[in-house]
Symmetry: C2
Subunit: 516 residues, 2 copies
């Protein structure tokens, strides 16, 4: 796979550097790169078997496409449609020919070009939690999201350098009227942050507003925007095998504008997909190929990302489970499928815990293990997801930032050279000595190791004297500190003016009422 | 690497099976096998550079060997020793020739042959926490270990099927006199458990007692014992570059008896080893090679394990850190070194948290990520370690058992065949349907997915009604349940009689006073 060209850091150049920014001592903004080979649970034959099964699903079962315009795109490309129905059966030749134009990588532009993101190849980007109906913090508990909470999450995401982009609304601001919610939220994204962001595919009007706001934020014309992807949307098929109208409209409109479509079937094995992982993956693949093919038929070469979101349910209760062994295998296999098509891969940092406890942490790290092993390019919900996505947690967002920083540090090379092999230091210290006083140590100790945000390595007595705070309580302190120290990034007043005028006009027009 | 022959389970045969035993619904006893390729942060050249540096350390710096008998072994093999000193310099020819006789794999026998363990190749064994001075549970807090606590940990380790062996005393029973502590503790290991176990290298007397108790427990003669390793000991060099007398005596005595020596330098980068990981690994390797060479010089072919325990310290306080990005890289590189010598590899499941919170969980899973990526064969402290080894935690032991079961399930194959690809089920359910009622689901749902011990997937309201227990509190309930339901494994009365007679005689003799 060809890689997006970017300046290669000298080996170890970034090791251990940290800076005080956004209210805390953290790693500087950095592009995270995969440096380890993929973990591949499937053989090449098994990948082909899943691919083949998914093509048979599209040919023999088909999928229901609820938007007439989308059915028309498929029909024009040669798909056979019943005159009056919604069922679309897709020939493998049509699908694979359409898929062939999808780029293997691209740049997702932010309004601050320092935050532009390479998507695909060996790059890994971390996005905030998105779309939680509730939020929670230790002080105020669990509650439906409000606009003020939403804005606080944007401030956190902007301040945490390891968070590369916004994956959607971290929490749904339920106190904003649905018709204008997208206008207020997107304006906040442009004014409170300068990182890349997402707009929801909730009908033609809203996604068009999103594209226009992305254009205004970049300060470019439409032609430039179409060449330079500056917005992304996540498309969930309504599994099994249904593409709803608002989502189909999102694919069409975003592809037309040259913006990024992340096609992500949400295939819970045993519920919306077969109980066997192979079957759930075959269905995931069928739905993903159909959505990606639609984008490519609308605009060949439109940037797309292959999204995988296969997990299992608790078969006793039907509750979704995340960060499980099954989730891990599905994430890894999804990466193999995305590479099969030479596409960027989207996965997620998940857990189903109700509180920021050991379960929240172990399910998250199991997820990250798989995400890294899959060489995922876009990691959604990387920071702040709790309770299977029902809650955006302030503490979890900061705790996740620590986990993500650790992953980034883990992926930095282990440097082996004469200086690091330290034969002279070993000779100087000798048997029975201690290295702390050695010159070799003194020259390096400040930046030799990753300094965590949350991990508490004090001895038991000091920790007790400090009130015995657990990891969630330590994260809570950092949340308060970051929000207190937050400063909005600079914004060109002309852009601000154009943005405000656009939002005012669209609000006066009534915003974007529901269309479907 | 040649693999230990063992009956290969049919693909997926073990998937999802669970049984009610030891007071809880858990996976059955199973050998865990590595099925994924190793994660290798070092190139072949870099592995050779570390190897080369470690040989130069042994040749040019040497190590202090504090036991005259051990120095004599090296001298007889041709090492140059100053007449009166302790410093031993080892020629690379001597070291590598001695290393060549070490077996790549072997069987560690338990008194219940169903619990015999394959060590090396693709096998992975999980040992309990060992050597913690304190223990803790949610009810009684943190406290110095007592004999009763020790016995409770043995009962937990015996009851948890995913725990394959005992890595030492889970907690130090400080109320037993040091001279007889090993006799009481080893008797408990034989009577309360039937899994493989460890004896401490604390001088000639104690390790000889340990070997004799292992022989009695197996019901075999000394010649059989020497052919069939039935006991292991962990040897820590006193880093940097010193081999203490009790440890050296342990190597000699265990090797003579054909029992397993796990040679594990404890090389904390920045304290007892260079601040750079490459240097710490070079030193780890030098110390490991020296100890393994000693065992092989005593008895060529004696079973040994290459142990790695390189981590970093918090450079602000000097406190040891575990489960860090540096730890992960060192574990992976250690696995590469062990494979360089075709030896089984020992690593650990670590964390430095003071309580069973998110930190304890994320540091543990980061450790396990590396342990699995390194294809470690013996995972010490796999269940119950807390606070960097200062505490054995009852709740953490059960929580870790859940993590280990998840790792075992993750390593089971993702089955791809016509039945699992589920094309017929996808056809039957069709677009917009639901899989729960499908025959394909109904036939499989009971065993399709891993059922966790700890993870709580109830919805928020049900969880709140149940008292909002966090993962540690849920683990605590299971601890009580397992201890309540514990039953000792069967033991041949003749063995019990011989064991009691031996302990009584050695106790009457005054046990084993400290020798060094």
């Amino acid at each position: 796979m060809s890689e997006v060209s970017e300046p290669a850091p000298r080996r170890g150049e970034r090791r251990g550097r940290r800076e005080r920014s956004g209210g805390l001592a953290q790693l500087p903004w950095r592009a995270v790169r995969h440096r380890l080979p993929a973990i591949e649970p499937l053989s090449t034959d098994e990948v082909e078997a899943v691919h083949e099964a998914s093509l048979r699903v599209l040919e023999e079962v088909g999928l229901d496409v609820l938007l007439p315009e989308a059915r028309e795109v498929f029909r024009s490309a040669g798909a056979s449609l019943p005159a009056d129905g919604q069922r679309v059966r897709l020939d493998r030749g049509l699908v694979m020919e359409a898929m062939a134009s999808a780029p293997s990588h691209f740049i997702l532009h932010a309004r601050n070009s320092a935050h532009d993101l390479h998507v695909g190849g060996g790059a890994m980007c971390f996005a905030t939690v998105a779309s939680a109906p509730n939020c929670a913090d230790l002080e105020r508990g669990r509650r439906p999201g409000k606009h003020a909470d939403y804005r606080d999450f944007l401030k956190l995401g902007q301040s945490l350098n390891i968070v590369h982009l916004f994956g959607g609304y971290p929490v749904e601001p339920t106190d904003l009227h649905p018709n204008v919610r997208h206008l207020e939220c997107l304006r906040d994204l442009v004014t409170l942050t300068d990182k890349a962001f997402h707009a929801y595919a909730l009908g033609w009007g809203r996604i068009r507003d999103g594209i226009e706001i992305a254009r205004i934020a970049r300060g470019v014309d439409r032609a430039t925007l179409e060449r330079e992807p500056s917005l992304f949307t996540v498309i969930n098929s309504s599994s099994p095998l249904r593409l709803d109208a608002p989502m189909a409209a999102g694919i069409i409109e975003m592809a037309r504008a040259g913006q990024v479509v992340v096609m992500t079937p949400f295939t819970l094995a045993g519920a919306m997909a077969p109980v066997t992982l192979a079957g759930a993956l075959a269905q995931q693949n069928a739905e993903a190929l159909a959505g990606i093919a639609l984008a490519q038929l609308v605009r060949p070469g439109a940037p797309v990302i292959y999204g995988g979101f296969t997990s299992n349910v608790d078969m006793r209760s039907g509750a979704p489970a995340f960060g499980t062994p099954e989730y891990m295998k599905a994430v890894l296999a999804g990466g193999q499928l995305a590479r099969r098509y030479d596409l960027p891969y989207r996965s997620s940092n998940t857990n189903a815990a109700t509180t920021v406890d050991a379960q929240a942490a172990y399910e998250s790290v199991f997820s990250l293990w798989a995400v890294v092993g899959a060489r995922a390019n876009l990691v959604m919900h990387a920071a702040g997801w709790l309770e299977g996505g029902l809650v955006a947690s302030f503490e979890k967002m900061v705790l996740d930032a620590d986990l993500l920083q650790m992953v980034a540090e883990f992926l930095e090379p282990l440097e082996v050279n004469e200086a690091t092999l330290a034969l002279d230091a070993i000779r100087e210290v000798g048997p029975g000595g201690h290295f702390f006083g050695a010159a070799h140590t003194q020259e390096r100790y400040r930046t030799a190791f990753y300094a965590p945000l949350i991990s508490d390595w004090r001895n038991y007595e000091s920790w007790r004297e400090a009130g015995a705070p657990d990891a969630a309580q330590r994260a809570h302190v950092l949340v308060r500190q970051i929000l207190r120290d937050y400063e909005p990034p600079p914004l060109d007043p002309a852009i601000r003016e154009e943005l405000d005028a656009f939002v005012a006009r669209r609000t006066a027009e009534g915003g974007a009422p529901s269309e479907f």
